[in-house]
């Protein structure tokens, strides 16, 4: 029983899918609705404008085995407003997430927090007598790591974005 479960899980994989779609009313809803209607996992979804104001880019992080991912991509393509779907997972790509982390601080622990912020190349964007707010950007892993490092301090609030990603361009041998 356990072995089969492990097997089933091992074929599951996290995928980052980038979608270009017509910037039309309800487009986000169509995509999110398709995921819930078909019962697909949706870890994060971001949407924003692109260089062309008539086109939006949506970045989705999902999980599934090959057959499910294949269906997800087909179902995304089937939506009438979809212009292009790219599964970035097997390509080299850049990804960024952003987190705002508000910490309750004391004069004693502030230096240590600032040290961590520096190591992660994050920024302090707000400060008060009792709080600092850290802005961290990077890969999902990096943002996870700084959140983990800051956990021992008093995290009052966190706001995190989903993932945005773009394919890397190929650089030939120089």
């Amino acid at each position: 029983m356990e072995a089969t479960q492990l097997n089933a899980e091992s074929t599951q994989r996290k995928h980052t899918i980038s979608i270009l779609l017509e910037n039309k009313f309800g487009a986000l809803n169509r995509v999110a609705g398709m995921f819930s209607a078909k019962g697909y996992n949706l870890e994060s979804i971001t949407v924003g404008p692109t260089e062309d104001p008539s086109v939006s880019r949506m970045t989705i992080v999902t999980r599934g085995d090959d057959a499910i991912i294949e269906q997800i991509i087909k179902q995304l393509n089937k939506l009438i407003d979809t212009l292009k779907v790219v599964d970035l997972t097997y390509d080299s790509y850049m990804e960024r997430e952003l987190a705002l982390i508000k910490l309750g601080t004391t004069t004693e622990n502030r230096p240590e927090i600032m040290q961590i912020v520096e190591i992660f190349q994050a920024k302090i964007i707000d400060i008060s007598h009792r709080t600092v707010t850290v802005e961290a950007t990077g890969s999902g892993q990096k943002v996870d790591a700084i959140v983990k490092m800051l956990k021992p301090f008093h995290i009052k609030e966190i706001a995190r974005t989903g993932r945005v990603a773009l394919k890397r361009e190929f650089v030939g041998e120089v």
Partner: protein
């Protein structure tokens, strides 16, 4: 003085709507007026190019549009008001979505400034129907109205067809602009392609050439793409037998030797057997639905599979296939035809012939009426030249089994969604579109009562629908499942009905009834000699079961043919009177 060209008169959204439908050659609209569409109805008032049929319920309007679309191949049009008018279309839209029927449903909406205010008769129909339409639109500007309608027709009728909803706010329809209807549509995000990929075609041709026990498994996509002629040529050239899905019925003539009838849960014994032992299965415009495959792990276990489908998301969705070919069935069959050769299938066809002899469709004819008998008789009377519109349940399966279909677009049913109440309004819609063939609506006593209000519409327009009610006093299919799989605990499946003949009289429709088998011929004679609408109720055997049957999710090995004891007849029937009746497809 220089002469000026007369500036074009500004038109209201409502006028533009009507003019756009005329541009799309719409001849009939099924609808129901209300506050939000009163302006549109005003614009429709003087139009003679479009016939408007006032149904008695918005659900009836959508099913009628479906029936019209399925029987004619043209898109079906429904027009309803906002709020409840719109929500009443939901079942029909979901039905059309699952059965890939081209529909354009126009719904009224409250004025833009009131949207979101919980205004009177407001419902977010675009949100509600998003997962059950191919696409939908809210028109926010009268300047986008004509192009949106053009796009809606294009999306509904191309690629894999489906329902498209266009929501029309009242103020948008009242505002004015110049009308010009676009002649072409270009959507950068939607470009369905018809032709199959050459590499895939080559692989398919190689597989076909090697096959010893091939079967063509044909679905509704073949009818949607008007590919029956190509299918016939393909089957005859290659000598491959043909089984069809419920929606594929009519795509291949069932009096052709190569026909195996329907496959699946209630398919013929020999079609399911042939599929099980096949070494090549060619799915043509079919989607490996669970009612066809049962347990997908054991479906056609020895067969290589070729899958022709216009919807890429159907490929490898349920069953992994060896050669997918994405495109239009007609186009792909045309591409394949020159390259396929005649296969040596004589032995295979002989084996199938033996199976047909061993396991025909059968029932015993006795004193009391079997539904199978009524349907077989209708098949004989019409010789397949009728549009048969069934509802959902036992009679639907027997209608699929005991009628011999020879023409495409003559078998209409709610296959995907399984919508009870489909038959009567859908048959009405079909009869408006098809004057060349008699249209027969078959329903059980349950389904007929779900849209019985449309008898009034049928009467009003003297629609020549032959309404057959097969009354067994039960929700028969549920009762059958309760008998076979739920220890015969008949929970809430027995139901009483009004006197259907009196009801027909109340609607001023001639009504007849048969309660014994020896009355069937006479009643059917009356039904088929009546011009205009006619209703006949057949009081049939209460507890009868549909066989063959492969229980849901099971494998071919679990197939049940008619048990001998169920052929024995009823307690109060003398066995001498019983006569074994058989029907074989092909």
């Amino acid at each position: 003085m220089t002469q000026h060209t007369t500036p074009q008169r500004l038109m209201t959204g409502a006028e533009i709507f009507v003019r756009s439908l005329i541009e799309e050659n719409v001849e009939i609209v099924f609808g129901y007026p209300g506050g939000a569409v009163i302006g549109i109805y005003d614009a429709l008032h003087d139009i003679s190019d479009i016939k408007h049929i006032l149904t008695r319920h918005e659900q009836g309007a959508v099913h009628a549009a479906e029936g019209y679309a399925k029987a004619t191949g043209k898109p079906g049009i429904a027009l309803v008001t906002s709020g409840p008018g719109a929500t009443n279309t939901v079942t029909g839209i979901a039905d059309a979505y699952l059965d890939s029927i081209p529909l354009i449903v126009f719904t009224g909406q409250v004025s833009l400034k009131l949207i979101g205010n919980d205004a009177f008769q407001e419902a977010d129909i675009v949100g509600i129907t998003r997962p059950i339409t191919k696409h939908n639109y809210l028109v926010r500007d009268v300047n986008e109205l004509a192009s949106t309608i053009k796009e809606a027709f294009y999306v509904a009728t191309t690629g894999r067809p489906g329902p498209v909803l266009v929501d029309l706010p009242k103020d948008v329809m009242a505002s004015k602009t110049q009308f010009s209807y676009p002649q072409t549509v270009k959507m950068r995000s939607y470009q369905p392609h018809a032709e199959g990929h050459q590499k895939q075609l080559t692989k398919a041709i190689e597989l076909i050439a090697k096959a010893k026990r091939p079967v063509l498994y044909v679905g509704g996509g073949t009818i949607l793409s008007n590919a029956s002629e190509e299918l016939k040529k393909f089957a005859h050239k290659t000598c491959i037998p043909v089984t069809t899905t419920l929606h594929g019925l009519g795509s291949f003539p069932e009096n052709d030797e190569l026909s195996l009838g329907m496959l699946g849960m209630h398919g013929t014994w020999y079609s399911n057997t042939a599929v099980h032992y096949s070494d090549l299965l060619i799915a043509v415009g079919a989607r490996f639905d669970d009612r066809v495959t049962g347990n997908t792990e054991t479906f056609a276990p020895e067969a290589k599979k070729i899958h022709i489908d216009i919807d890429p998301s159907n490929i490898s969705k349920n069953v992994k296939v060896d050669v997918p070919i994405v495109g239009d069935v007609k186009k792909i069959l045309q591409q394949l035809l020159p390259s396929v050769t005649t296969l040596e299938t004589k032995d295979w066809l002989q084996t199938i012939k033996n199976w047909k002899e061993e396991h025909p469709l059968r029932y015993k004819n006795g004193k009391y009426i079997r539904m199978q008998h009524v349907i077989r008789k209708i098949s004989e009377i019409t010789n397949g030249n009728a549009v048969i519109v069934s509802d959902v349940g036992q009679h639907q399966m027997w209608t699929a089994q005991f009628f011999k279909y020879i023409l495409p677009r003559t078998h209409l049913t709610s296959g995907g969604l399984g919508t009870m109440g489909f038959s009567l309004p859908a048959a009405m819609g079909a009869a408006f579109g098809r004057k060349d063939l008699p249209v027969v609506s078959l329903s059980g006593d349950g389904g007929i009562q779900m849209n019985i209000q449309e008898l009034a519409t049928i009467r009003e327009h003297n629609v020549p629908v032959k309404i057959i009610i097969l009354n067994n006093g039960y929700l028969g299919m549920v009762r059958q499942w309760q008998q076979l799989f739920w220890r015969k605990r008949y929970s809430h499946v027995e139901m009483s009905s009004p006197d259907f003949v009196k009801l027909a009289d109340a609607y001023d429709i001639p009504g007849f009834r048969a309660t014994l088998t020896n009355e069937v011929d006479d009643v059917l004679e009356k039904v088929f000699s009546t011009t205009g609408p006619v209703l006949a109720e057949f009081r049939v055997v209460k507890e009868d079961n549909v066989y063959p049957m492969i229980p849901a999710g099971q494998s071919y090995n679990e197939i049940m043919d008619v048990p001998e004891k169920e052929l024995e007849g009823l307690e109060n029937e003398s066995t001498e009177e019983l006569e074994l009746m058989t029907v074989t497809k092909g």
